[in-house]
Amino acid sequence: MNRSAESPEPLPEPLPERVPEPLPERVPERVMKVLVAGPVGVGKTTAVKSASDVPILTTETTPTDDTLLLKPSTTVALDFGVARLDDVRVVHLYGTPGQKRFDFMWEILRDGSAGVVILVDASDPDAIEGLGPYLETYAALLEQRRVALGVTRLEVDAKDGLAPFRSHLGRIGASVPVFEVDPRSRADVLVLIRALLATTDVDLMS
């Protein structure tokens, strides 16, 4: 058998090179850090809990001072929750402790934050004076309009509504959102956060 006389079998045609289908374009998530600050007992932990899509991390413990007269537990370091606003925006919520003696945490948590939601209790006769330390600590954020004020317990004492808080912020030249908020309402807390971020966004566009 003369093998050389036979024509070789044609090689099979090479398979066309497989081009992988492009993956759907994925918009990267935009994660933002937002603080929830305010005096003791104003509803910060409740607000973080209401807005968060996941069980929140808390550092609550039994108070050892006058705070015990107000509530059985208080935040001593931070609360942490995660709220997804839409397909792109995710907010990491950090609740600060309310007690002045933990104010070092206010400054530690401030770093890298997109803004701060300050809650204030309308039924507290000294509510406006009580805002002072927070406006001072977050003065740099306030200057950039990265502050939103949530007024709680207006249903308890709605005599003057939001007006005194607006005028107080107006006097220091801050045109920031001032909303009535029920910290137990997820919708209320999220509207406040969205307003805060809307302010940040339009300022960046300008």
Binding site: D121, A187, V191, A195, A198, T199, V202, S206
Partner: protein, 404 residues
Amino acid sequence: MNARANLTAERDVGPLKVVLSAMSERTRAMLEYHFDRDADEVFAVAEVGDAPDAIIVDYDHPGTRAAIESGKWASGPPLIALAHGEVEAASAVLVSKPIEPAALAAAAAWLRDPGSRPTETREEPSSTARAVPAPVAEPTPATDPVAERSRRLPLAARDLDDVAPTATAASRRRPVEPDASALDDGSSDLRRRARVEALCGPARALAAFDDPNDPAHRHDPARHLDGHLARALDALQAKGSELRGVTLVMPDIEVYVLPWLDRVCTSEPLNWSAAVERVFREHDDDEVDLVTYDIRTVNTLVGRVNANACQSYPLGAFRWLAALFSARGRLPFGVDVRRPVQLRHWPAFTRLEMTPGCLAIAAEWTRAPRTIGSMVEHLGCEPRHVTAFHAGARAAGLLESRPE
């Protein structure tokens, strides 16, 4: 306390002037109403500039207890604290709840003359507070507590009882929550589009607003419900404390304005587009009756609210909603789209109907003055979203003209 309670002889004549502090709006309204009705008897609310004879506070109101203990009112006039049960409150005359006129009268008598302390005063040995309950009627075999209470209360007390549920009926009626479907991603697209169209009208080009008198894209707010409501509120403001409430009687609806409760109640639900179109269409002046109520007739208004009202809104939320439903994305006649405007402050969006892009529009309009056109271009949003926001903000009195 005795020294503070020693009121001068001239104060013994006529009602004691009191300041109402640290209490809910409901309690305040109830007391003011009662004092107004019994103006010549025990207490009257002090006017601005009057030196009050006493301060009445709600001991159960958050913060009151701490304020009393911190001595907030220690240097002022005597303190009357309204409280549930037996409590301790230094330097305050306690009036037990439920508040009865007789107990208030007893507190007044005690303030006028500390020596006339009622023998029924409940006081814990450890407490420095004086509790002033209503004088106890002679024992009767009656066992029905309601009948018993009704029997021994004087007329004024029954009137006070009438007022409490009256105020409660409107104030406890849960206000209609803003419908979030115009924004909520969870709504079906159809529902969302329908809601946006109800609030913002059909899509319009910016050029449609060039003619300030084009009836297709302009409207006269004064002929819609929000205009009639604005007139009603102006009437209330002009008459000061004489007028207590207003009813707008329109062909399809009655709108009850209760400023002392910061509420508006409607006799028809506004959940359906057909109802919205009927109620918020243009109405001539002769189609709308404005019925006003003063202190003597306000109970008639309250009776109508209790009988007819089916929905309740905070006053500001209703004005905002009425403006949006009336305008449906149109601008008022004569408004120049080239004139820059700015917001005085943010609308309180947690209690208002939100429209697409409203937060960004509010953020930009509080930051700097802008025309409607430049706002549309800057944010890249639909013109009707900006004009709808404009309608709400205009009704709320938030817009002011500014140079750009």
